[in-house]
């Protein structure tokens, strides 16, 4: 303490750190309950499936796909830098890559039996999985990922969500015309998502400083009552949409959806604890669709890597033991070896599938939970709350990549090891 007071530089840094801490506590969601919260954004929208940012000739381009390409390009760049001018005494990029190579070369040999070059066949896939998974995990926490994007308007949102319901309605009632199906789907959508909340945007940016109040429920953007929906549904079923009350209701709902702005009736009132009210009238409502999103937060990415890993494990097994030898692990003759061995063999075959699933969910769950954690911390404690968790995410990213690679290696070693007691004697000399 005495040292702190005697050194003005340290004192200034300490005071600045405390000030930032206080500002972030007051500015975040904690401060919002005391009427502050000037830095807090609206409660973020969390989407489980990856979002579509564009479509190239009917092919949906997802934000996670772009991120995977970014990761691949980064890896290519590192490999090119490392291999451009190889030197006998490595330095820089070459040193880094050689370190990774050496580490995996030793690990693979160690797990595969301890003799040099024992695990050569595993090296390529195992180290590739490690590098790819690590790069895509780390790329997911770069600044700008998940926070820069386009605004999905209410119209697009309704169109997007109504499609699935339309198909359902059409399947149940093939006799309805397209218009009837459309209206019925709309009615279902509005009924189901009445309180679905949207962000009231400030021009093109997500508004800061109004905390969770900037989230506007759907029924404040599109005006309708339950009575309206009932009238509409009956009219749609009776095919009487052309005129009358139902026609007017439908018209007004369509107008509201097209406009996609917060209705004049919505003024957020915080309640008795605060006198602050916010007027969101006329602001564009919608959802943020980020252009970039960590590739491993998409279950398709992790499933693809898992399938590649487990498929290659089978290939290794067949290569090492031959067709009869490897399939003999799963299909055991119940008469010669006994029914229990048969059952164990079937369980083993089932295990290969569950391993793929657990690969998928382990990586996806970890990275998706990490993303939510970062979003939640940025929401609760802006400015500083996110910093320790960024460090945690870096650690989790590399650990998950290591686990993915090591498990592939372990499964591979198990697959090439021949089965049964007499065989294993032959293996270890």
């Amino acid at each position: 303490m005495g040292k702190l007071l005697s050194s003005p530089k340290l004192l200034v840094i300490a005071i600045a750190a405390i000030a930032v801490l206080l500002v972030s506590v007051a500015g975040g969601a904690l401060g919002a309950s005391f009427g502050l919260g000037f830095l807090g954004g609206p409660i973020p929208f969390i989407s489980l499936p990856a979002e579509q940012v564009a479509s190239i000739g009917g092919y949906p381009l997802l934000n996670t796909t772009i991120m995977f390409w970014v990761g691949g390009l980064a890896l290519l760049f590192v490999a090119w830098r490392a291999g451009r001018k190889p030197k006998d005494v490595p330095s820089g990029w070459q040193n880094l890559m050689e370190m990774i190579y050496e580490f995996f070369s030793n690990t693979v040999d160690g797990v595969a039996g301890g003799t040099p070059k024992a695990g050569r066949r595993f090296l390529l896939l195992v180290s590739t999985i490690f590098l790819v998974v690590m790069i895509i995990n780390w790329a997911g926490i770069l600044p700008g990922v998940g926070s820069i994007g386009k605004i999905e308007s209410i119209e697009q949102w309704v169109h997007h969500h109504a499609e699935a319901i339309e198909e359902e309605v059409h399947a149940d009632h093939p006799e309805y015309s397209d218009e009837q199906v459309e209206v019925l789907a709309l009615v279902h959508l509005l009924e189901e998502h009445e309180f679905e909340s949207f962000i009231a945007f400030d021009g093109m940016i997500v508004p800061l400083g109004r905390g969770e109040q900037a989230r506007v429920p759907l029924n404040k953007i599109v005006t309708f009552s339950h009575h309206d929906l009932e009238v509409l549904e009956e009219a749609a079923k009776a095919d009487a949409l052309a005129s009358g009350e139902a026609h007017d209701i439908l018209e007004s709902i369509h107008d509201d959806i097209e406009a996609g702005v917060v209705k004049s009736s919505f003024i957020y009132d915080e309640g008795e604890s605060s006198e602050k009210t916010y007027d969101f009238t006329g602001k564009t409502a919608g959802l943020l669709i980020p252009y970039l999103r960590g590739a491993s937060t998409d279950i398709n990415t992790t499933l693809a890597i898992a399938i590649v890993a487990m498929f290659t494990v089978q290939v290794w097994g067949f290569k090492a033991l031959g067709f009869r030898g490897y399939s003999g692990k799963f299909l055991v003759n119940p008469i010669t070896k006994g029914p229990i061995a048969t059952f164990v063999g079937l369980l083993e075959a089932f295990g290969e599938i569950t391993r793929t699933i657990s690969f998928t969910f382990r990586l996806f769950g970890n990275m998706f939970a990490g993303e939510i954690l970062l979003i939640a911390m940025a929401f609760l404690l802006p400015l500083i709350g996110i910093i320790p968790f960024m460090g945690l995410e870096l650690f989790v990213g590399v650990i998950q990549a290591y686990i993915f690679a090591m498990l592939t290696l372990v499964f591979g070693v198990m697959a090439v090891a021949s089965h049964g007691d007499h065989d294993s004697h032959a293996e270890d000399h």
Partner: protein, 76 residues
């Protein structure tokens, strides 16, 4: 008795709450045993740590499955 919207957060909380119970115990046991092993044989830090982290990931994965279920219940 419950409507679907009210049951959702409850179901998600139960899923992750109960699902974290087992892995929590498992991770505790695992780390405890690893520390014990290190106390007996401090030179074996490298392999013990490596294997412990691998096994921890297995235990943790079970909690992650519960978390995925909870997230699916909440957001889908």
């Amino acid at each position: 008795m419950f409507d679907a919207a009210a049951a959702k957060p409850l179901a998600a909380a139960l899923a992750i709450g109960l699902g974290a119970l087992g892995p929590g115990l498992g991770i505790g046991l695992l780390a405890g045993k690893a520390m014990e092993a290190l106390g007996r044989n401090p030179e074996a830090v490298g392999p013990v740590q490596q294997n412990m982290i691998l096994a921890l990931a297995f235990a943790e994965a079970i909690a992650i499955y519960a978390l995925v279920i909870a997230i699916i219940i909440l957001f889908v």
